[in-house]
């Protein structure tokens, strides 16, 4: 298996006069958690949406399984998408369906699995995210954290190779955030799939990341393990890490 799940090469994207991505180069390791951190409104979500073909770049390439997905037609892109799962910022559960139907939806639409088997799969996934027995609830009856957990169960239901996470801890209290982060780490350790997480929650992300990439001014200014990034002497990186207000969090070039 190739060690890189996704290779991003010189990706550019502007909206009107605003340059959002200005030459992104990044390799996403297979079977690892890669976290892309950066300021709010810095283009993280835009970058994530490029990885699954929701947005087309102005220029640049994104290589997945030997194919540049920016050049693919919708039908070919869908073949790639079937190997992806995504947890959206607000979970994006279908509010016309209950939790069970939400999680079962991708299986019903993509496979001919008998309903009995679907039931077993859905129950197992809901149990994995700690929501066994919640199948009959409607999304509107759930808290933000619970919705994200259902979103994660739905993203995992077809056992995708890659799961993308858009701000998994935003708008959650610190304790629920921690539960979500543990869940991400736990499922990844168990499933060994490729996870790409974008967030501005520095501390939380350093807990779970195998690789951290820092996005600033439309470019990836730093990549490395959490330890390597903390030791970085790069001004932008140090400024970002110092924003945590934790003395000594940025080791600023010291080894």
């Amino acid at each position: 298996m190739e060690s890189k799940a996704i290779r991003i090469k010189d990706l550019h994207k502007s909206f009107g006069n605003q340059k959002v991505l200005d030459g992104i180069n990044l390799d996403i390791e297979n079977g690892k958690i890669t976290v892309i951190i950066g300021k709010s409104g810095g283009g993280k979500t835009v970058l994530l949406k490029h990885l699954i073909g929701l947005i087309k770049p102005d220029s640049g390439e994104i290589w997945v399984e030997g194919r540049d997905i920016t050049k693919l037609r919708e039908r070919e892109l869908n073949e790639i998408r079937r190997k992806y799962g995504m947890l959206f910022q607000e979970a994006a559960l279908f509010d016309s369906m209950n939790v069970y139907d939400n999680v079962a939806f991708p299986i019903r639409e993509h496979t001919k699995t008998p309903e009995k088997e679907i039931e077993l799969i859905v129950e197992a996934k809901l149990e994995r995210v700690g929501l066994a027995g919640f199948g009959g609830k409607m999304p509107s009856e759930l808290s933000g954290g619970m919705r994200k957990r259902v979103g994660l169960a739905r993203a995992m239901v077809l056992d995708p190779e890659v799961i993308l996470f858009d701000e998994p801890t935003s708008a959650l209290d610190p304790i629920i955030s921690l539960t979500i982060l543990d869940l991400i780490k736990e499922t990844q350790t168990y499933l060994k799939k490729t996870y790409v997480v974008i967030s501005h929650d520095i501390l939380g992300m350093f807990r779970i990341a195998d690789t951290v990439a820092l996005l600033a001014d439309g470019k990836i200014v730093e990549t490395g393990t959490p330890d390597e990034v903390r030791r970085s002497g790069n001004d932008v990186t140090m400024e970002f890490l110092n924003a945590t207000k934790i003395p000594g969090f940025s080791l600023g070039g010291k080894s």
């Binding site: 699954i52 929701l54 998408r81 959206f88 607000e90 279908f94 939806f105 991708p106 639409e109 993509h110």
Partner: protein, 253 residues
Amino acid sequence: MIRHLVTRTDNFVREFGRLAIMFGKSIYWGVRKPFKLGYIFKQMEFIGVNSTAVVIITGTFTGMVLALQSYYGFRKFGAEGLVGATVALSMTRELGPVLTCLMVTGRAGSAMAAELGTMRVTEQIDALTVMALNPIKYLVTPRIIASFVMLPILTILSDFVGVFGGYVVGVKLLGINEGAFIDKMVKYVELGDIYNGLVKSAVFGIILSLVACYKGFYAQGGAKGVGKATTEAVVVSSVTILISDYILTSLMF
């Protein structure tokens, strides 16, 4: 001034183009397997079955007021017997289809735009795309097919209750001779008049669902954007229905 006009025209052409593309895609996905019959039936229930009460009330009172008004006019030259034919012709050719479609636009069109708009701003439409499922096939096509099928059925209902309302007011309240009322109606109203109205309502059904889905599908900017999309959906579909009503009527006259 000229610049403003050019921008407006440019926007209009662009929007019209996107609308046409959406219509083309919804037909394309409508004829491709697997057919989403469950989704279509659900929409038929929402757009058609759930609109029956409002259509019955509107149709009945329109027929009743038509009988009253035309009686007032015809009485002046002793032609009260023509009230039945007038009510039936107005209902089947014009008011049945137009009022039904305008009421359904207000009831179901606004709901479609609001629902799709909310799905857009809460990323549910993106979620479908990410699952490698085409949102047009799941969200737009069923609504267009359901409207295309259900609006003519609702129009038949409206025609029927309108004529019945006219009958009650004309014969039972105003005392027009029952024989003359029915005889003139049968004599002057042809099957073609009814078909004419049904063709119009099918076209209006496509217009209202397409415009509502389009406005909702491309909504942006949170709750405010959804509100704007909903208002625009109702206004644009209603105006388009009235304009296309004139065009269709003059073509089929």
